[in-house]
Symmetry: C2
Subunit: 153 residues, 2 copies
């Protein structure tokens, strides 16, 4: 699925039937955590491969990349204003006070994932491993800046 489709899906979901409008902050927090968890779980084995800590497995790379491509557009709308608290969260308040920088990080991650998708289609292991590394850097960059070490209320 393409990045543009994902963004459209997010917008369409937000506009549909007031469902998001009724959602509580704690639900938004749980949802974005869930998306991050599923994304991280798909990425973990690929990161291990890119770092030569695990044997390269093309089938896993193809399948997990598809998961990450689907997930990467999903959490951002759930960091909307009003979701700063409501359940234990590791989201730094800078997500909201430095919103432009956070948005930039989210966009970098989405671009890196799109590039990974292209690399995986190409099929060259070295290129794919480099693209996995780039995705990892965008994840880490944003986590370093915007994710607390411990949960806060």
């Amino acid at each position: 699925m393409k990045l543009k489709q994902l963004s459209l899906a997010a917008v369409a979901l937000a506009l549909t039937s007031g469902v998001l409008a009724q959602v509580k902050p704690e639900d938004e927090i749980r949802y974005r955590q869930s998306v991050m968890n599923v994304t991280g779980r798909a990425f973990g084995p690929m990161a291990a491969m890119a770092q030569d800590k695990a044997p390269y497995n093309k089938d896993v790379v193809v399948k997990n990349t598809a998961v990450i491509e689907m997930m990467i557009g999903m959490p951002w709308a759930s960091f909307a204003a009003g979701t700063e608290k409501g359940a234990p969260t590791k989201a730094d308040m800078k997500v909201w006070s430095e919103g432009a920088k956070f948005k930039e990080g989210a966009e970098k991650a989405q671009k890196a994932v799109a590039a990974l998708g292209t690399a995986v289609k190409g099929g060259d292991e070295k290129t794919i491993k480099a693209a996995i590394g780039d995705v990892g850097k965008t994840c880490k960059g944003c986590h370093d800046d915007f994710r607390l070490k411990e949960f806060r209320n």
Copy 2:
């Protein structure tokens, strides 16, 4: 993505590089909860449409069905033996003591989602709404039997 591909992905992930073998029960619990959360979030607006509580939106149906098709194969491996506890969970101990019945429920859900995917490709609103209803029934059936009302430790 097809059901068989999803199952293969789960198996491939489980077999890859001992990643799952190193995973802690609390991580498995959090992961399966995350998958269920993301799946439910995608399904919610569709259920509302099927029940005529929200206007039918084809784009949302197509996009959310793709999410559900990807997610529906993902939680089951994380109900493995040894993941009965380790973090707050709503999983009834019957998941493990009545494993065959749980597996049957999981398979029913996956079949209903595959049928939904077929219906969505077909494009007929009435058929799609019926397929959404069928998916909802398989979700509810398993939740009624195997999901507790409150978290346990």
